[in-house]
Symmetry: C2
Subunit: 168 residues, 2 copies
């Protein structure tokens, strides 16, 4: 499946914002490899500010620890690109930004950065709310820009599915 | 002057990253109305991670205070879209992300959000480093998306000019 175009991401972002609004929830984002793309597409939608409170782009490991309260021991044990760190980033964004719902992404966009067992394109997306978490593992096969768009789309979709599963 | 296209912003981002690399400086971003666009275009450039440590998207005023240590009294006195808050955001990003150089943007992307003396399109961009600050005021006249791109371009250019003025 090709990575979504920017325009498709904005459509998805508008759907997520509308679903949050219906549920009376605020939204935050914790982004590593997407670098701010999720916040960018959310804020392309007029009126986003009544739902989207902000985001943290934790590109380096130090930023994950200091700004999102991810445990350095978790990064050391599982690696920055792991299910555990994706979940901790979503929890950290909810807490630090005082949002009801938070999405997170950590991955290897490429072209470099791969390692044994952690190929280029490996990405974890997560969502956290007051009831708990969801997390997904993906391995994208596009270039850096396409992998970022695929990751942003997966994170927005995961949050939307979680809201829709809870009834709207 | 029309707002830069996304591709032009990535070219500008690559120039800023190269200039930071030449000066041995790390880079952070504090974004309000751009919503993550600056981080997004910086991380479109392969190898950005050795310079760009991360960013804070402080879309709401609460996020500006909690995550960037902007004084609530400054926001109350001057408004969130002001020279003073742009400078405080850049300082906060440098400190919280432990970066050598930080850029910031605060503005009214539109279509709503204007007020007497603060028209839609009003935007302040700032840059902070160990030696001090620069700040610029702009009033963009495009739509929401174009105003975001114009703001991101102005912030990246301001940082690049500051580095080039200091000699490379």
């Amino acid at each position: 499946m090709p990575a979504p175009a920017s325009e498709a991401l904005v459509v998805l972002a508008a759907r997520l914002l509308a679903a949050c609004r219906r549920h009376g929830l605020t939204l935050a984002a914790a982004e590593s490899c997407t670098g701010g793309l999720i916040g960018h597409v959310l804020t392309e939608v007029p009126g986003a500010s009544d739902v989207f409170v902000g985001g943290i782009v934790s590109y380096g490991d130090g930023a994950k620890v200091r700004l999102l309260a991810v445990a350095a021991s978790e990064i050391a044990r599982h690696g920055a690109v792991s299910e555990q760190v994706a979940l901790a980033m979503a929890d950290g964004a909810r807490e630090r930004l005082r949002a009801d719902l938070a999405v997170s992404v950590t991955g290897i966009a490429g072209p470099s950065g791969g390692a044994p067992g952690k190929p280029v394109g490996l990405t974890f997306v997560a969502v956290a709310d007051a009831r708990g978490h969801d997390v997904q593992r993906h391995v994208w096969s596009g270039d850096r820009s396409a992998n970022k768009r695929a990751s942003a789309g997966a994170a927005l979709s995961l949050a939307l599915e979680r809201l829709e599963a809870s009834g709207s």
